[in-house]
Protein backbone atom coordinates (compact mmCIF):
# COMPACT_ATOMS: atom_id res chain seq x y z
CA UNK A 1 0.00 0.00 0.00
CA UNK A 2 1.56 3.20 -1.08
CA UNK A 3 1.02 6.07 1.16
CA UNK A 4 0.18 9.13 -0.81
CA UNK A 5 1.50 11.46 1.80
CA UNK A 6 3.89 11.19 4.72
CA UNK A 7 2.28 13.78 6.82
CA UNK A 8 3.03 13.26 10.51
CA UNK A 9 0.64 14.58 13.07
CA UNK A 10 1.28 14.59 16.76
CA UNK A 11 -1.85 15.12 18.79
CA UNK A 12 -2.61 15.38 22.47
CA UNK A 13 -5.69 13.46 23.51
CA UNK A 14 -7.33 13.54 26.91
CA UNK A 15 -9.85 11.17 28.50
CA UNK A 16 -12.27 12.53 31.08
CA UNK A 17 -15.18 10.98 32.95
CA UNK A 18 -16.44 9.65 36.25
CA UNK A 19 -14.44 7.12 38.25
CA UNK A 20 -14.78 3.53 37.15
CA UNK A 21 -16.24 4.29 33.73
CA UNK A 22 -13.34 2.51 32.05
CA UNK A 23 -11.10 5.31 30.78
CA UNK A 24 -7.89 3.42 31.48
CA UNK A 25 -9.39 0.22 30.13
CA UNK A 26 -10.27 1.92 26.84
CA UNK A 27 -6.74 3.25 26.48
CA UNK A 28 -5.12 -0.08 27.41
CA UNK A 29 -7.34 -1.88 24.92
CA UNK A 30 -6.28 0.54 22.21
CA UNK A 31 -2.57 0.80 23.11
CA UNK A 32 -1.79 -2.75 24.27
CA UNK A 33 -4.82 -4.80 23.28
CA UNK A 34 -5.23 -5.77 26.93
CA UNK A 35 -8.19 -5.86 29.25
CA UNK A 36 -8.35 -6.52 32.99
CA UNK A 37 -11.56 -6.98 34.94
CA UNK A 38 -10.04 -4.98 37.76
CA UNK A 39 -7.90 -2.18 36.48
CA UNK A 40 -5.85 -0.27 39.06
CA UNK A 41 -7.46 3.06 39.86
CA UNK A 42 -5.65 5.96 38.23
CA UNK A 43 -4.25 8.69 40.48
CA UNK A 44 -3.56 12.07 38.91
CA UNK A 45 -3.25 10.80 35.38
CA UNK A 46 -1.49 8.18 33.31
CA UNK A 47 0.30 8.82 30.06
CA UNK A 48 0.34 6.60 26.97
CA UNK A 49 1.44 6.97 23.37
CA UNK A 50 0.21 5.17 20.30
CA UNK A 51 0.78 5.64 16.59
CA UNK A 52 -1.97 5.16 14.03
CA UNK A 53 -1.29 5.08 10.32
CA UNK A 54 -3.98 6.22 7.95
CA UNK A 55 -3.63 6.54 4.21
CA UNK A 56 -3.31 10.28 4.44
CA UNK A 57 -1.11 10.61 7.47
CA UNK A 58 0.51 9.05 10.49
CA UNK A 59 -0.91 10.18 13.78
CA UNK A 60 1.04 9.94 17.01
CA UNK A 61 -1.25 10.19 19.99
CA UNK A 62 -0.05 11.54 23.32
CA UNK A 63 -2.81 10.23 25.55
CA UNK A 64 -3.59 11.59 29.01
CA UNK A 65 -5.85 9.27 30.93
CA UNK A 66 -7.11 11.18 33.97
CA UNK A 67 -8.33 10.18 37.42
CA UNK A 68 -12.11 10.10 37.69
CA UNK A 69 -12.90 10.93 41.29
CA UNK A 70 -14.65 14.26 41.58
CA UNK A 71 -12.03 15.91 43.78
CA UNK A 72 -9.43 15.28 41.07
CA UNK A 73 -11.45 17.62 38.92
CA UNK A 74 -9.27 20.51 40.07
CA UNK A 75 -6.28 18.92 38.35
CA UNK A 76 -8.01 18.42 35.02
CA UNK A 77 -7.07 21.71 33.30
CA UNK A 78 -3.42 20.70 33.46
CA UNK A 79 -4.26 17.64 31.40
CA UNK A 80 -6.73 19.03 28.88
CA UNK A 81 -4.79 22.23 28.24
CA UNK A 82 -3.55 22.16 24.69
CA UNK A 83 -5.41 18.97 23.78
CA UNK A 84 -6.45 18.49 20.16
CA UNK A 85 -9.05 15.87 21.04
CA UNK A 86 -11.00 14.79 24.09
CA UNK A 87 -12.94 11.63 24.85
CA UNK A 88 -15.58 12.03 27.53
CA UNK A 89 -16.49 8.62 28.89
CA UNK A 90 -19.55 7.39 30.74
CA UNK A 91 -20.71 3.97 31.83
CA UNK A 92 -24.03 2.87 30.33
CA UNK A 93 -24.92 1.18 33.62
CA UNK A 94 -24.64 4.41 35.61
CA UNK A 95 -26.88 7.43 35.14
CA UNK A 96 -24.63 9.33 37.52
CA UNK A 97 -21.69 8.89 35.18
CA UNK A 98 -23.79 10.24 32.29
CA UNK A 99 -24.58 13.35 34.33
CA UNK A 100 -20.88 13.74 35.11
CA UNK A 101 -20.04 13.33 31.42
CA UNK A 102 -22.35 16.19 30.49
CA UNK A 103 -20.61 18.40 33.01
CA UNK A 104 -17.28 17.57 31.46
CA UNK A 105 -18.61 18.45 28.04
CA UNK A 106 -19.82 21.81 29.31
CA UNK A 107 -16.50 22.53 30.91
CA UNK A 108 -14.58 21.61 27.79
CA UNK A 109 -16.84 23.75 25.64
CA UNK A 110 -16.06 26.65 27.89
CA UNK A 111 -12.37 26.04 28.52
CA UNK A 112 -10.96 24.06 25.67
CA UNK A 113 -10.02 25.47 22.33
CA UNK A 114 -12.91 25.95 19.89
CA UNK A 115 -11.38 23.43 17.49
CA UNK A 116 -11.24 20.69 20.09
CA UNK A 117 -12.51 17.43 18.65
CA UNK A 118 -14.82 15.86 21.20
CA UNK A 119 -16.09 12.32 21.38
CA UNK A 120 -18.63 10.93 23.77
CA UNK A 121 -17.92 7.28 24.54
CA UNK A 122 -20.69 5.23 26.14
CA UNK A 123 -18.59 2.46 27.60
CA UNK A 124 -19.39 -0.98 29.05
CA UNK A 125 -21.77 -1.68 26.17
CA UNK A 126 -21.32 -5.38 26.93
CA UNK A 127 -23.37 -4.93 30.12
CA UNK A 128 -26.64 -4.57 28.21
CA UNK A 129 -28.70 -6.23 30.96
CA UNK A 130 -27.60 -3.58 33.45
CA UNK A 131 -28.09 -0.62 31.13
CA UNK A 132 -29.37 2.58 32.73
CA UNK A 133 -28.62 5.08 29.97
CA UNK A 134 -30.49 4.52 26.71
CA UNK A 135 -28.42 4.69 23.59
CA UNK A 136 -30.79 7.34 22.20
CA UNK A 137 -30.13 9.60 25.17
CA UNK A 138 -26.41 9.51 24.57
CA UNK A 139 -26.84 9.98 20.84
CA UNK A 140 -29.23 12.85 21.19
CA UNK A 141 -27.08 14.66 23.73
CA UNK A 142 -24.05 14.23 21.47
CA UNK A 143 -25.96 15.53 18.46
CA UNK A 144 -27.21 18.60 20.29
CA UNK A 145 -23.72 19.45 21.45
CA UNK A 146 -21.79 18.74 18.31
CA UNK A 147 -20.00 15.69 19.67
CA UNK A 148 -19.22 12.44 17.97
CA UNK A 149 -20.81 9.47 19.66
CA UNK A 150 -19.91 5.80 19.96
CA UNK A 151 -20.95 2.98 22.24
CA UNK A 152 -17.85 1.08 23.25
CA UNK A 153 -16.74 -1.88 25.30
CA UNK A 154 -13.16 -2.10 26.44
CA UNK A 155 -13.93 -5.64 27.53
CA UNK A 156 -15.06 -6.97 24.15
CA UNK A 157 -13.07 -4.37 22.17
CA UNK A 158 -16.29 -3.22 20.51
CA UNK A 159 -15.71 0.11 18.77
CA UNK A 160 -12.47 0.80 20.63
CA UNK A 161 -10.14 0.92 17.65
CA UNK A 162 -12.94 2.59 15.70
CA UNK A 163 -13.08 5.33 18.32
CA UNK A 164 -9.42 6.19 17.92
CA UNK A 165 -9.51 5.81 14.13
CA UNK A 166 -12.42 8.22 13.97
CA UNK A 167 -10.50 10.70 16.09
CA UNK A 168 -7.45 10.28 13.88
CA UNK A 169 -9.50 10.92 10.75
CA UNK A 170 -11.00 14.05 12.21
CA UNK A 171 -7.56 15.24 13.20
CA UNK A 172 -6.27 14.74 9.68
CA UNK A 173 -9.21 16.61 8.27
CA UNK A 174 -8.73 19.43 10.72
CA UNK A 175 -5.04 19.76 10.12
CA UNK A 176 -4.02 22.17 7.37
CA UNK A 177 -2.09 20.50 4.57
CA UNK A 178 1.36 21.38 5.70
CA UNK A 179 4.46 19.26 5.43
CA UNK A 180 5.65 16.73 7.96
CA UNK A 181 6.33 17.11 11.63
CA UNK A 182 3.53 19.40 12.60
CA UNK A 183 2.29 19.38 16.12
CA UNK A 184 -1.36 19.48 16.90
CA UNK A 185 -1.03 20.59 20.44
CA UNK A 186 -3.51 23.39 20.72
CA UNK A 187 -1.10 25.75 22.45
CA UNK A 188 -0.17 28.71 20.32
CA UNK A 189 3.40 28.54 19.14
CA UNK A 190 3.95 32.24 19.63
CA UNK A 191 3.41 31.98 23.36
CA UNK A 192 6.54 29.90 23.63
CA UNK A 193 9.45 31.77 24.95
CA UNK A 194 11.90 32.77 22.29
CA UNK A 195 14.88 31.14 23.94
CA UNK A 196 17.30 29.79 21.42
CA UNK A 197 19.44 27.65 23.63
CA UNK A 198 18.17 25.12 26.07
CA UNK A 199 20.16 26.77 28.82
CA UNK A 200 21.52 23.35 29.44
Amino acid sequence: MARTSNKNIQAKLVLLGDMGTGKTSLVLRFVKGQFFDFQESTIGAAFFTQVLSLNEATIKFDIWDTAGQERYHSLAPMYYRGAAAAVVVYDITSMESFVRARKWVQELQRQGNPNLIMFLAANKADLEEKRKVAIEDGEQYAKENGLFFLETSAKTAQNVNELFYEIAKKLVKASPSRPTGMKLHGRQQETRRGLLCCSG
Binding site: S41, I43, C198
Partner: protein, 398 residues
Amino acid sequence: MYSTQSKRDLAIEFQSQIPILRPSIHARRANITVKFQDLYGFTVEGNVDDVNILNEVREKVRQQGRVWWALEASKGANWYLQPQISSISEGIALKSSLKFSAVANAITLKRLIRKGIPPVLRPKVWFSLSGAAKKKSTVPESYYYDLSKAVEGKVTPATKQIDHDLPRTFPGHPWLDTPEGHGALRRVLVGYSFRDSDVGYCQGLNYVAALLLLVMKTEEEAFWMLAVLLENVLVNDCYTNNLSGCHVEQRVFKDLLAQKCPRIAAHLEELEFDVSLVATEWFLCLFSKSLPSETTLRVWDVLFYEGAKVLFHVALAIFKMKEDALLLTHQVGDVINILQATTHHLFDPEELLTVAFDKIGSMTTTTISKQRKKQEPAVMAELDQRLRRLNSLKMEDK
Protein backbone atom coordinates in the same frame (compact mmCIF):
# COMPACT_ATOMS: atom_id res chain seq x y z
CA MET B 1 -13.89 -10.22 62.37
CA TYR B 2 -11.04 -8.54 64.12
CA SER B 3 -8.83 -11.56 64.28
CA THR B 4 -7.13 -10.56 61.09
CA GLN B 5 -3.87 -11.00 62.91
CA SER B 6 -3.25 -14.46 61.55
CA LYS B 7 -3.65 -13.25 58.01
CA ARG B 8 -1.45 -10.32 58.75
CA ASP B 9 1.33 -12.74 59.50
CA LEU B 10 1.53 -13.26 55.77
CA ALA B 11 3.30 -9.96 55.40
CA ILE B 12 5.68 -10.89 58.14
CA GLU B 13 6.34 -14.14 56.37
CA PHE B 14 7.42 -12.27 53.29
CA GLN B 15 9.83 -10.32 55.41
CA SER B 16 11.34 -13.14 57.39
CA GLN B 17 12.01 -15.43 54.48
CA ILE B 18 13.98 -12.95 52.38
CA PRO B 19 15.11 -15.65 50.01
CA ILE B 20 17.88 -15.15 47.51
CA LEU B 21 16.34 -14.93 44.07
CA ARG B 22 17.86 -17.19 41.50
CA PRO B 23 17.00 -16.36 37.93
CA SER B 24 17.06 -19.38 35.65
CA ILE B 25 20.06 -20.02 33.43
CA HIS B 26 17.90 -19.26 30.41
CA ALA B 27 17.00 -15.89 31.79
CA ARG B 28 20.61 -15.12 32.54
CA ARG B 29 21.76 -16.09 29.08
CA ALA B 30 19.10 -14.29 27.15
CA ASN B 31 18.87 -11.29 29.44
CA ILE B 32 15.13 -11.55 29.25
CA THR B 33 12.61 -10.14 31.63
CA VAL B 34 11.83 -12.29 34.64
CA LYS B 35 8.87 -12.11 36.97
CA PHE B 36 9.34 -12.56 40.67
CA GLN B 37 7.81 -11.70 44.00
CA ASP B 38 9.43 -9.03 46.08
CA LEU B 39 9.74 -8.81 49.86
CA TYR B 40 6.12 -7.73 50.31
CA GLY B 41 4.57 -10.12 47.84
CA PHE B 42 4.32 -7.80 44.84
CA THR B 43 5.02 -9.28 41.46
CA VAL B 44 7.88 -7.45 39.86
CA GLU B 45 9.17 -7.65 36.35
CA GLY B 46 12.81 -6.97 35.80
CA ASN B 47 15.89 -8.15 34.00
CA VAL B 48 18.69 -10.14 35.55
CA ASP B 49 20.49 -6.98 36.64
CA ASP B 50 17.43 -5.95 38.59
CA VAL B 51 17.36 -9.32 40.31
CA ASN B 52 21.02 -8.98 41.22
CA ILE B 53 20.40 -5.53 42.67
CA LEU B 54 17.48 -6.88 44.67
CA ASN B 55 19.68 -9.63 46.08
CA GLU B 56 22.30 -7.08 47.10
CA VAL B 57 19.60 -4.98 48.72
CA ARG B 58 18.42 -8.00 50.69
CA GLU B 59 21.93 -8.64 51.90
CA LYS B 60 22.18 -5.02 53.01
CA VAL B 61 18.85 -5.34 54.82
CA ARG B 62 20.30 -8.29 56.72
CA GLN B 63 23.44 -6.34 57.63
CA GLN B 64 21.36 -3.40 58.70
CA GLY B 65 19.37 -5.75 60.93
CA ARG B 66 22.59 -6.79 62.65
CA VAL B 67 23.46 -3.12 63.28
CA TRP B 68 20.07 -2.58 64.95
CA TRP B 69 20.42 -5.71 67.09
CA ALA B 70 23.90 -4.64 68.18
CA LEU B 71 22.58 -1.23 69.20
CA GLU B 72 19.75 -2.84 71.12
CA ALA B 73 22.28 -4.98 72.93
CA SER B 74 24.40 -2.00 73.94
CA LYS B 75 21.75 0.69 74.52
CA GLY B 76 18.76 -1.35 75.65
CA ALA B 77 15.84 -2.78 73.68
CA ASN B 78 13.83 0.37 73.15
CA TRP B 79 16.59 2.96 73.07
CA TYR B 80 15.13 4.68 70.00
CA LEU B 81 11.74 5.13 71.58
CA GLN B 82 12.89 7.75 74.08
CA PRO B 83 10.64 10.75 73.69
CA GLN B 84 13.50 13.27 73.56
CA ILE B 85 14.90 11.73 70.46
CA SER B 86 11.95 12.37 68.24
CA SER B 87 11.46 15.87 69.59
CA ILE B 88 15.02 16.77 68.66
CA SER B 89 14.44 15.55 65.16
CA GLU B 90 11.47 17.87 64.91
CA GLY B 91 13.83 20.76 65.40
CA ILE B 92 12.72 21.76 68.84
CA ALA B 93 15.49 23.76 70.51
CA LEU B 94 17.85 21.67 72.49
CA LYS B 95 17.47 22.13 76.16
CA SER B 96 20.71 22.33 78.05
CA SER B 97 19.32 19.84 80.49
CA LEU B 98 19.15 17.26 77.77
CA LYS B 99 21.69 14.59 78.25
CA PHE B 100 24.49 14.22 75.80
CA SER B 101 23.57 10.59 75.30
CA ALA B 102 20.11 11.57 74.08
CA VAL B 103 21.60 13.92 71.49
CA ALA B 104 24.03 11.28 70.41
CA ASN B 105 21.18 8.81 70.16
CA ALA B 106 19.17 11.21 68.05
CA ILE B 107 22.01 11.69 65.60
CA THR B 108 22.62 7.96 65.45
CA LEU B 109 18.95 7.31 64.95
CA LYS B 110 18.54 9.78 62.08
CA ARG B 111 21.49 8.26 60.27
CA LEU B 112 20.29 4.77 61.04
CA ILE B 113 16.80 5.41 59.73
CA ARG B 114 18.12 6.85 56.48
CA LYS B 115 20.01 3.56 56.12
CA GLY B 116 16.74 1.70 56.53
CA ILE B 117 14.71 0.13 59.31
CA PRO B 118 14.88 -3.68 59.24
CA PRO B 119 11.50 -4.98 57.98
CA VAL B 120 10.81 -6.92 61.20
CA LEU B 121 11.26 -3.78 63.30
CA ARG B 122 9.30 -1.51 60.99
CA PRO B 123 5.86 -1.83 62.63
CA LYS B 124 7.24 -1.05 66.09
CA VAL B 125 9.58 1.76 65.07
CA TRP B 126 7.07 3.45 62.75
CA PHE B 127 4.29 3.24 65.27
CA SER B 128 6.33 4.97 67.96
CA LEU B 129 8.40 7.49 66.03
CA SER B 130 5.58 8.73 63.77
CA GLY B 131 3.46 9.71 66.76
CA ALA B 132 0.79 7.10 65.99
CA ALA B 133 1.25 5.45 69.38
CA LYS B 134 0.77 8.77 71.11
CA LYS B 135 -2.32 9.54 69.03
CA LYS B 136 -3.82 6.19 69.90
CA SER B 137 -3.07 6.67 73.60
CA THR B 138 -5.24 9.82 73.77
CA VAL B 139 -8.46 7.91 73.06
CA PRO B 140 -10.06 4.92 74.78
CA GLU B 141 -8.45 1.57 74.09
CA SER B 142 -11.50 0.34 72.17
CA TYR B 143 -11.64 3.35 69.79
CA TYR B 144 -10.90 1.47 66.58
CA TYR B 145 -13.11 -1.44 67.49
CA ASP B 146 -16.00 0.86 68.43
CA LEU B 147 -15.56 2.94 65.29
CA SER B 148 -15.55 -0.10 63.02
CA LYS B 149 -18.57 -1.50 64.78
CA ALA B 150 -20.47 1.78 64.60
CA VAL B 151 -19.94 2.30 60.87
CA GLU B 152 -20.52 -1.30 59.84
CA GLY B 153 -23.24 -1.53 57.22
CA LYS B 154 -23.49 2.22 56.68
CA VAL B 155 -23.56 3.39 53.09
CA THR B 156 -22.16 6.77 52.10
CA PRO B 157 -20.67 8.15 48.87
CA ALA B 158 -17.27 7.38 50.41
CA THR B 159 -18.08 3.76 51.19
CA LYS B 160 -19.39 3.25 47.65
CA GLN B 161 -16.17 4.58 46.19
CA ILE B 162 -14.10 2.50 48.59
CA ASP B 163 -16.00 -0.65 47.60
CA HIS B 164 -15.39 0.19 43.98
CA ASP B 165 -11.65 0.55 44.54
CA LEU B 166 -11.01 -2.48 46.77
CA PRO B 167 -10.44 -4.95 43.92
CA ARG B 168 -8.59 -2.22 42.02
CA THR B 169 -5.94 -1.73 44.70
CA PHE B 170 -2.80 -3.67 43.77
CA PRO B 171 -4.88 -6.35 41.98
CA GLY B 172 -3.24 -9.75 42.00
CA HIS B 173 -1.40 -9.25 45.29
CA PRO B 174 -1.42 -12.59 47.16
CA TRP B 175 -2.93 -11.12 50.33
CA LEU B 176 -4.41 -7.73 49.47
CA ASP B 177 -6.44 -9.19 46.63
CA THR B 178 -8.25 -11.76 48.78
CA PRO B 179 -11.51 -11.45 50.70
CA GLU B 180 -9.48 -11.02 53.90
CA GLY B 181 -7.31 -8.34 52.36
CA HIS B 182 -10.30 -6.48 50.93
CA GLY B 183 -12.07 -6.72 54.29
CA ALA B 184 -9.17 -5.27 56.24
CA LEU B 185 -8.55 -2.49 53.72
CA ARG B 186 -12.24 -1.66 53.70
CA ARG B 187 -12.46 -1.36 57.48
CA VAL B 188 -9.41 0.90 57.64
CA LEU B 189 -10.60 3.19 54.82
CA VAL B 190 -14.25 3.28 55.86
CA GLY B 191 -13.27 3.86 59.48
CA TYR B 192 -11.09 6.77 58.47
CA SER B 193 -13.76 8.23 56.19
CA PHE B 194 -15.97 8.57 59.25
CA ARG B 195 -13.17 9.82 61.49
CA ASP B 196 -12.51 12.72 59.14
CA SER B 197 -15.48 13.53 56.96
CA ASP B 198 -13.57 16.34 55.23
CA VAL B 199 -11.26 13.75 53.79
CA GLY B 200 -13.87 11.03 53.52
CA TYR B 201 -12.31 8.86 50.88
CA CYS B 202 -9.77 10.12 48.39
CA GLN B 203 -8.44 7.84 45.68
CA GLY B 204 -4.77 7.26 46.38
CA LEU B 205 -5.37 6.54 50.04
CA ASN B 206 -6.32 3.01 48.99
CA TYR B 207 -2.72 2.36 47.93
CA VAL B 208 -1.27 4.05 51.00
CA ALA B 209 -3.51 2.14 53.40
CA ALA B 210 -2.86 -1.13 51.58
CA LEU B 211 0.87 -0.78 52.00
CA LEU B 212 0.43 0.23 55.63
CA LEU B 213 -1.56 -2.96 56.18
CA LEU B 214 1.23 -5.02 54.69
CA VAL B 215 3.82 -3.47 56.97
CA MET B 216 1.99 -3.07 60.28
CA LYS B 217 0.95 -6.17 62.16
CA THR B 218 -2.70 -5.29 62.63
CA GLU B 219 -5.31 -3.28 60.78
CA GLU B 220 -5.77 -1.21 63.92
CA GLU B 221 -2.15 -0.07 63.76
CA ALA B 222 -2.48 0.55 60.04
CA PHE B 223 -5.48 2.75 60.81
CA TRP B 224 -3.50 4.82 63.31
CA MET B 225 -0.60 5.14 60.91
CA LEU B 226 -3.02 6.47 58.29
CA ALA B 227 -4.42 8.89 60.86
CA VAL B 228 -1.04 10.24 61.93
CA LEU B 229 0.03 10.52 58.32
CA LEU B 230 -2.95 12.62 57.29
CA GLU B 231 -3.29 14.59 60.50
CA ASN B 232 0.34 15.25 61.46
CA VAL B 233 2.96 14.12 58.97
CA LEU B 234 1.63 15.53 55.70
CA VAL B 235 0.42 19.08 55.07
CA ASN B 236 -3.26 19.76 55.66
CA ASP B 237 -5.84 19.27 52.94
CA CYS B 238 -3.77 17.07 50.66
CA TYR B 239 -6.75 14.77 50.23
CA THR B 240 -9.77 16.96 51.01
CA ASN B 241 -12.42 18.00 48.52
CA ASN B 242 -10.34 20.03 46.02
CA LEU B 243 -6.91 18.69 46.98
CA SER B 244 -5.77 22.20 47.83
CA GLY B 245 -2.87 20.95 49.96
CA CYS B 246 -1.69 18.86 47.06
CA HIS B 247 -1.82 21.90 44.76
CA VAL B 248 0.32 23.83 47.24
CA GLU B 249 2.88 21.03 47.45
CA GLN B 250 3.10 20.90 43.66
CA ARG B 251 3.84 24.61 43.44
CA VAL B 252 6.46 24.36 46.15
CA PHE B 253 7.97 21.42 44.31
CA LYS B 254 8.22 23.44 41.09
CA ASP B 255 10.08 26.19 42.94
CA LEU B 256 12.40 23.70 44.59
CA LEU B 257 13.18 22.06 41.26
CA ALA B 258 14.09 25.45 39.82
CA GLN B 259 16.36 26.05 42.81
CA LYS B 260 17.97 22.66 43.15
CA CYS B 261 18.01 21.49 39.53
CA PRO B 262 17.92 24.72 37.51
CA ARG B 263 19.07 23.18 34.23
CA ILE B 264 16.37 20.51 34.31
CA ALA B 265 13.72 23.03 35.32
CA ALA B 266 14.66 25.36 32.47
CA HIS B 267 14.69 22.56 29.92
CA LEU B 268 11.31 21.22 31.03
CA GLU B 269 9.83 24.68 30.88
CA GLU B 270 11.08 24.95 27.34
CA LEU B 271 9.23 21.72 26.54
CA GLU B 272 6.16 23.11 28.31
CA PHE B 273 6.30 20.16 30.63
CA ASP B 274 4.60 20.76 33.95
CA VAL B 275 6.27 18.59 36.60
CA SER B 276 2.92 18.12 38.34
CA LEU B 277 1.93 15.91 35.44
CA VAL B 278 4.01 13.18 37.02
CA ALA B 279 4.62 14.38 40.56
CA THR B 280 0.95 14.57 41.59
CA GLU B 281 0.72 10.80 41.70
CA TRP B 282 4.03 10.55 43.56
CA PHE B 283 2.83 12.88 46.30
CA LEU B 284 -0.71 11.52 46.64
CA CYS B 285 0.34 7.88 46.73
CA LEU B 286 3.59 8.63 48.55
CA PHE B 287 5.42 6.84 45.71
CA SER B 288 3.66 3.53 46.40
CA LYS B 289 2.38 3.29 42.85
CA SER B 290 5.68 4.20 41.21
CA LEU B 291 8.58 2.79 43.21
CA PRO B 292 9.23 -0.89 44.03
CA SER B 293 7.77 -1.74 47.44
CA GLU B 294 11.01 -1.99 49.44
CA THR B 295 12.21 1.33 47.99
CA THR B 296 8.86 2.96 48.83
CA LEU B 297 9.07 1.71 52.39
CA ARG B 298 12.61 3.02 52.75
CA VAL B 299 11.23 6.41 51.74
CA TRP B 300 8.45 5.98 54.30
CA ASP B 301 11.01 5.06 57.00
CA VAL B 302 12.43 8.54 56.64
CA LEU B 303 9.06 10.20 55.99
CA PHE B 304 7.64 9.05 59.32
CA TYR B 305 10.72 10.30 61.19
CA GLU B 306 11.67 13.48 59.35
CA GLY B 307 8.34 14.63 57.96
CA ALA B 308 6.74 15.65 54.66
CA LYS B 309 9.83 17.43 53.32
CA VAL B 310 11.19 13.97 52.56
CA LEU B 311 8.76 13.74 49.65
CA PHE B 312 10.46 16.77 48.05
CA HIS B 313 13.90 15.28 48.58
CA VAL B 314 12.91 12.05 46.89
CA ALA B 315 11.01 13.66 44.01
CA LEU B 316 13.94 15.97 43.32
CA ALA B 317 16.32 13.02 43.46
CA ILE B 318 14.39 11.15 40.78
CA PHE B 319 14.82 14.11 38.43
CA LYS B 320 18.42 14.67 39.49
CA MET B 321 19.41 11.05 38.86
CA LYS B 322 18.33 11.38 35.26
CA GLU B 323 19.57 14.89 34.62
CA ASP B 324 21.69 14.03 31.56
CA ALA B 325 18.97 12.00 29.89
CA LEU B 326 16.29 14.56 30.68
CA LEU B 327 18.31 17.39 29.17
CA LEU B 328 18.41 15.50 25.87
CA THR B 329 14.65 15.11 25.55
CA HIS B 330 12.64 16.91 22.91
CA GLN B 331 9.16 15.78 23.79
CA VAL B 332 6.91 15.53 26.80
CA GLY B 333 6.42 11.83 26.13
CA ASP B 334 10.15 11.16 26.34
CA VAL B 335 10.37 12.92 29.69
CA ILE B 336 7.58 10.80 31.09
CA ASN B 337 9.03 7.58 29.69
CA ILE B 338 12.40 8.30 31.30
CA LEU B 339 10.84 9.10 34.67
CA GLN B 340 8.56 6.05 34.59
CA ALA B 341 11.32 3.66 33.58
CA THR B 342 13.51 5.13 36.32
CA THR B 343 11.01 4.84 39.13
CA HIS B 344 9.88 1.33 38.18
CA HIS B 345 13.45 0.05 38.23
CA LEU B 346 14.64 1.79 41.34
CA PHE B 347 15.30 -1.43 43.19
CA ASP B 348 18.25 0.06 45.05
CA PRO B 349 16.89 2.38 47.75
CA GLU B 350 20.46 3.33 48.71
CA GLU B 351 21.07 4.94 45.35
CA LEU B 352 17.89 7.00 45.56
CA LEU B 353 18.29 8.09 49.17
CA THR B 354 21.93 9.05 48.73
CA VAL B 355 20.97 11.44 45.96
CA ALA B 356 17.91 12.60 47.90
CA PHE B 357 19.85 13.65 50.96
CA ASP B 358 23.50 14.11 49.96
CA LYS B 359 23.21 15.56 46.48
CA ILE B 360 20.03 17.57 46.86
CA GLY B 361 21.36 19.22 50.00
CA SER B 362 19.50 20.18 53.10
CA MET B 363 16.11 21.84 53.16
CA THR B 364 14.73 22.75 56.53
CA THR B 365 11.12 22.24 57.46
CA THR B 366 10.95 25.95 58.33
CA THR B 367 12.00 27.09 54.85
CA ILE B 368 9.53 24.75 53.24
CA SER B 369 6.75 25.94 55.54
CA LYS B 370 7.51 29.49 54.42
CA GLN B 371 7.29 28.47 50.79
CA ARG B 372 3.97 26.78 51.43
CA LYS B 373 2.63 29.92 53.08
CA LYS B 374 3.71 31.90 50.05
CA GLN B 375 1.85 29.61 47.64
CA GLU B 376 -1.37 29.19 49.59
CA PRO B 377 -3.10 32.41 48.52
CA ALA B 378 -2.41 31.75 44.83
CA VAL B 379 -3.78 28.22 45.08
CA MET B 380 -6.88 29.37 46.92
CA ALA B 381 -7.51 32.12 44.36
CA GLU B 382 -7.10 29.68 41.48
CA LEU B 383 -9.43 27.09 43.00
CA ASP B 384 -11.94 29.75 43.89
CA GLN B 385 -11.96 31.15 40.39
CA ARG B 386 -12.49 27.68 39.00
CA LEU B 387 -15.35 27.03 41.35
CA ARG B 388 -17.06 30.24 40.29
CA ARG B 389 -16.64 29.35 36.64
CA LEU B 390 -18.16 25.92 37.21
CA ASN B 391 -21.03 27.43 39.16
CA SER B 392 -21.77 29.82 36.33
CA LEU B 393 -21.95 26.80 34.05
CA LYS B 394 -24.55 25.28 36.34
CA MET B 395 -26.58 28.49 36.23
CA GLU B 396 -26.61 28.38 32.47
CA ASP B 397 -27.76 24.83 32.64
CA LYS B 398 -30.98 25.84 34.41
